[in-house]
């Protein structure tokens, strides 16, 4: 590959992937150079394969659903574990306040 082929490589690749003309500074060279044309053809095929990969689904971990749902259970448990002490503390504070108010109430002799 000549230096100009190497400089043209990304533009040839872009042209192949996007189905557009090679960018102007390298268009003349790419149209005349057999190596760049071969590279264009190879990259066109690669682009097709890349696009086809979007239709391909890999198999994820079998326990993915279990992991997610367990984590959500954990979320709820955390929410519950926070809610309970807050409720108990609020009940104790209000009871203490009620007792104090009752004890400190002004009494008539």
């Amino acid at each position: 590959m000549s230096v100009i082929c190497e400089m043209a490589a990304p533009f040839v690749a872009n042209s192949a992937v996007e189905g557009s003309l090679v960018a102007r500074p390298f268009r003349g060279h790419a149209e005349a150079c057999l190596k760049c044309q071969a590279r264009h053809a190879a990259m066109t095929r690669t682009a097709r394969e890349l696009a086809a990969m979007s239709k391909e689904t890999l198999v994820g971990p079998l326990d993915l659903e279990w992991r997610v749902m367990s984590a959500l259970e954990g979320d709820l448990a955390v929410a519950r574990s926070w809610r309970t002490p807050i409720a108990v503390t609020a009940a104790i504070v209000s009871m203490t306040a009620a007792v104090l108010i009752w004890r400190l109430r002004p009494r008539t002799p």
Partner: protein
Amino acid sequence: MAQVEPDKERELIARAKAGDRAAFGALVREHGNEVYTLARRLVGDPHLAADVAQETLIRAWRALPNFRGDAALSTWLHRITVNTAWTQRKRARRHSGPPLDDFLEVAAPMGADHPETAGETLELRGRLRQALDSLPEAQRQVVVLKDVYDWSHAEIAEAMGISVSAAKVRLHRARARLVRYLEASA
């Protein structure tokens, strides 16, 4: 790919938004592999991809009340996957070195039903996966989102928190690397 019918999916989303975890479980079953696939392509390492998929789906559950349905659920999940992959990768880099194992799952390529070209396609697909994995993280993510999932430059820039021109430059460099890698491995 998700197989559930659009009406059924809308119903599952509505129930999940109302807090029905069984409905969300059904959505996880439908979209889990799809989310994992994108995560795997973005981060390369299968174990990290599993963590990304899990975290993505947990984030999705938490954000579900904000899902307006303007885009398809899979598109919305893809966006969360990209963000999650980005943060998980940074976290993983802080806590450990590069992954030691990086096996490639074998999935049936499109066109595998044509025996005369199936072998060639499989071979190219294998080299392509390795080429993608050889790219630096940021470049791989741009190629995957643009050339595999057909996102626009603007969508990529927004998801990755970079400018549109930076996304274009990364793509340009990544494609040049891909060409070189594929030629060297041919």
